[in-house]
Amino acid sequence: MNPPLRIDSGARTDVGCVRTNNEDSYQVEPQINLYILSDGMGGESHGEVASALAVQTVVTHCREAVESPATPMFGDLKPEVSERTNRLASAIHLANTKVYETAVANSEQKGMGATVVAAWLDGQRLSLAHVGDSRAYLLRAGMLEQLTADHSLVAEKVRIGILTPQEAETSEWQSVLTRAVGPQPDVEVDADEHMLVLGDTLLLCSDGLNRMVTDPEIASTLLTATSAQAAADRLVELANENGGQDNITVIVLHLSTKSQNVFGWLKGRRKTSG
């Protein structure tokens, strides 16, 4: 019944122009259609440890669940989302436990943490889960929509109406997260789902992109790129041209039925971290 889908994916991470180490991690798993990135934090190189561990834990848990649906679930099950979306949230709960326990066992890593944004596709059905201020955007019919709500102090204040979006943009507290994977023994995970349609482009990014590149710039870059990888490369370039204040990581997915993006497709599984 469903038309065969082609998912053209591209990803890129970059240290940026200011920082000396890249604390972001990402992984692209085309075999199970799982795409995840994480922005680590913590002194020294602990942010890298946290983000790499978070990414690895989520990927492993989801792979296990694909092979064996009886794999235990972690965290509260939410009846209003599908089993797969609950599974993705479960993976992030598990990642939280792993990062937290690693930090407890290694006192110099105390307090390390990471954001996570993960997209898992089941046909056209997108499961999306996130913690922190890494974002997912959907470009559909030329319009860019932010699918995730940042777990940051300024964003939460904007949502409850005690700060204006303009004040938020210039706030000195932009880097303060209200949720992260790792610093606390448990974490609340936001999980949501959407039905993707042909022609949709999904973008996952760390804040190093969206603090440097405006939404209209992001939209026009996604619209004009010749492949998902070209879009990812160009977005990272733009962030660096605009200052590159932080590490930048982007994952771009484009849904089509045609093989017009055959080169991006053939590149297949690309993964890296840190």
């Binding site: 019944m1 469903n2 038309p3 922005d39 934090m41 913590g42 002194g43 009846p79 209003e80 989302v81 599908s82 006192s107 110099e108 105390k110 307090g111 943490g113 046909g123 056209q124 059905r125 559909r140 019919a141 319009m143 929509e145 709500a149 102090l153 939460e156 204040k157 949502r159 409850i160 109406g161 005690i162 000195e172 507290w173 932009q174 880097s175 303060v176 997260l177 209200t178 949720r179 992260a180 610093p183 606390q184 949501d192 789902e193 959407h194 039905m195 349609v197 042909l198």
Partner: protein, 241 residues
């Protein structure tokens, strides 16, 4: 001349002049500002000058370093800022200063918190309580107490009425659709309804749906009584009591 003043319950305990050398704070006696309290780590935090600005840095202390009640790993300090360590405050006093160094004046105002960090649990709890208080007021929205329902007015669907229980409701012929469209040319995913914090939003699928006769642009919030048209199907969105 800038100085740091160690305070405990309103009493000044110690004054340390600030030079170029870092000032360390901790329970160990060899700190520049020793604090003899079990809540304080041996080497808890330090304050130093970087690029013309004063910076406080937590040294991975057990109980954390707080700047104006927010837990920080590393943050810039300005005159009057109070750094909380255990139950002691270290207050920056710059009022005896002459003009600030020219270097500092040239610098663009930088964000004071330049390292990502997580809000301390207690602080977050306070903020969420504040949010909940506002949320309670928004509970006055009658929609919250009623069940969002789609009623089919025209077209071939699997049921005549659907209660929206999930975050995603798909209208289409897809096996994943809640509102299953029947018939030969029914689109796989005609449209979708997403639950957001403030209500339900209708978005396009393979078709662009209409609300009350008008094609939607992006995702559009549904109001009680709206008529949705997509393909050959017409439905109303109502909050049932």
């Amino acid at each position: 001349m800038s100085r740091l003043v160690l305070k405990f319950e309103g009493t000044d305990l110690k004054e340390v002049p600030l030079g170029n050398a870092p000032v360390t704070i901790g329970r160990a006696p060899d700190n520049d500002i020793p604090i003899d309290n079990l809540a304080v780590s041996n080497y808890h935090a330090r304050i130093y000058v970087e690029a013309g600005s004063l910076v406080v840095e937590d040294l991975n202390s057990l109980n954390g370093t707080f700047l104006n009640d927010l837990r920080v790993e590393r943050a810039m300090l300005k005159d009057g800022d109070a750094v909380l360590i255990g139950k002691h405050h270290v207050v920056l006093d710059q009022e005896h200063d002459a003009a600030p160094p020219a270097d500092a004046m040239r610098k663009a105002p930088a964000p004071r918190v330049n390292e990502t960090m997580v809000l301390d649990t207690q602080e977050r709890r306070n903020m969420l309580e504040q949010a909940a208080a506002i949320g309670e007021r928004s509970q006055l929205y009658p929609e919250r107490l009623r069940v969002p329902t789609l009623t089919v007015l025209r077209g071939r669907t699997s049921q005549k009425e659907y209660q929206l229980a999930g975050k995603l409701t798909v209208i289409g012929s897809s096996s994943m659709a809640t509102v299953r469209l029947r018939g030969w040319f029914a689109p796989n995913v005609a449209a979708q309804i997403n639950k957001h914090e403030d209500g339900y939003y209708l978005g396009r699928g393979d078709r662009v749906p209409k609300i009350n006769g008008v094609e939607i642009g992006g995702p559009t919030k549904l109001n009680d009584g709206d008529v949705i048209e997509v393909g050959r199907v017409r439905l109303t969105f109502v909050y049932r009591t």
